[in-house]
Each structure stands twice: as C-alpha cells, then as structure tokens.
C-alpha cells in the first residue's frame, strides 16, 4: 500500500516536506514503518525520540496500519 505520512516540527525539516509517501505491506506495523523511514531518512535516528500517530492517537510499535489511516511522525513535542 501507498501511505501518506504527515510530518511536523523537525521531522518536516528532515523529510524536506510536510508529508512523504512510502510503500508498505498492508497491515504492516508501526515498527516496520519506523525502520523504513529511518533507512530513507537517517537523521530521524538522531532525534531524542519520536512517535508515530495513527488517526490522531499515539501508536505502539506493534500497532498495524491500514491504507485509510492518517499517519503522522511526532518528534519530541515542545508546546506550552
């Protein structure tokens, strides 16, 4: 499946765009997505940490992702 990945904060700088498209197997889990992104964008690994959000919820590594999900990369937050 083709997945559109939203990026915010420094992740947007790393991707060079507010979103990128990646190819993943349908039902792939969050850990697989992270590994793929870290291969394509090695600077992601230099972040203090980052999370993946699926449909506006923080996702765990084992959460599977489907094509209709809204997926976002959440670098360390710093609001307030």
């Amino acid at each position: 499946m083709e997945l559109n990945i939203l990026a915010f904060g420094i992740a947007k700088d790393i991707f060079g765009a507010p979103s990128v498209i990646v190819n993943l197997d349908e039902g792939a889990d969050t850990a697989t997505l992270k590994t793929l992104l870290e291969t394509q964008y090695p600077r992601l690994k230099q972040l203090a940490s980052y999370m993946v959000a699926v449909n506006n919820e923080y996702a765990q590594d084992e959460n599977s992702i489907s094509e209709r999900d809204e997926v976002a990369i959440i670098p360390p937050v710093s609001g307030g």
């Binding site: 420094i10 203090a48 959000a53 959440i74 937050v77 710093s78 609001g79």
Partner: protein, 139 residues
C-alpha cells in the same frame, strides 16, 4: 465539567479566558499564562514559531482535561494555545481552571500545563541571532 479547548493563530486574550472561567459556583481560579521569554539558557531569543498537529493536539488536550476532572473536583478547564510566529512577551498558552476550593484549581492547572508539554503535538522553534532550533528535538 465544562471545557474550552482552542488553538488560535491570532493573539490570545487573557480577559476573555477569565470571563469564561468565572462562575458563581467557583471560589478559586488558577490561571497559568506562558509568555515568550527574551532568553533561553542565557542566549537572546528573537522570536518563536509554534506549529501544531491541530486535530491530534485538540484530542490530546481534551484527554488531559478529562484526566484532570477525574483527579480533582474542578469545575471548568480552559486551554488556549497559539500557533505561528510569536514575539518576545507574547502568550503561547493560557490554562485556566476553576474550582469550589483553590487547592484543586492549583493542582489541576499545574497538571494540565505539565502534561500538555509532554504529550500534546505542538512544536516550538526558537530563533536566535545566529540560527534557529526546534526545541527538545535532540538530546
């Protein structure tokens, strides 16, 4: 148990927050106002930029207010957060909490801002004379 949770691109208005939070059933109101400080770790700050993943930020702020209602006997909680470019002295965030008694208002207000800074998908970029940096991105 009312909430008012909003993200604005325009300047926040402390007075309208206070008007919303006051009520005849309240005895104590605690208001936290974050302001853009002119320096970070001794380095002069020129301006800040805040970016939000808006629908998720609203959802996470809503969770925080629900947690606060479960933890303390508070009546109303307001969270206003600003996005875009802010100059020194401007207000990125206002939290206001009302309660019958002040201890609950203080505890809940502090919980809301502390938790917001940990979980809500909003990002701050600091601009200095010699560059800019996304806060908290790197160790």
């Amino acid at each position: 148990m009312e909430t008012q949770i909003e993200i604005f691109e325009t300047p926040l208005n402390t007075q309208s927050c206070i008007e919303w939070i006051m009520s005849p059933a309240s005895g104590g109101i605690d208001v936290f106002i974050g302001t853009v400080r002119n320096a970070t770790k001794g380095k002069m700050v020129l301006k800040l930029e805040f970016e939000a993943y808006k629908p998720m930020a609203i959802s996470e702020m809503s969770k925080i207010t629900q947690q606060a209602f479960e933890k303390w006997p508070v009546q109303k909680i307001l969270i206003h957060h600003r996005t875009g470019t802010l100059q020194v002295g401007e207000i990125p965030v206002i939290i206001a909490v009302s309660a019958a008694h002040r201890d609950a208002a203080f505890d809940a207000c502090r919980y809301v801002i502390d938790t917001l800074k940990q979980t809500v998908p909003i990002w701050k970029k600091e601009f200095f004379e010699d560059g800019k940096v996304w806060v908290a991105a790197h160790p």
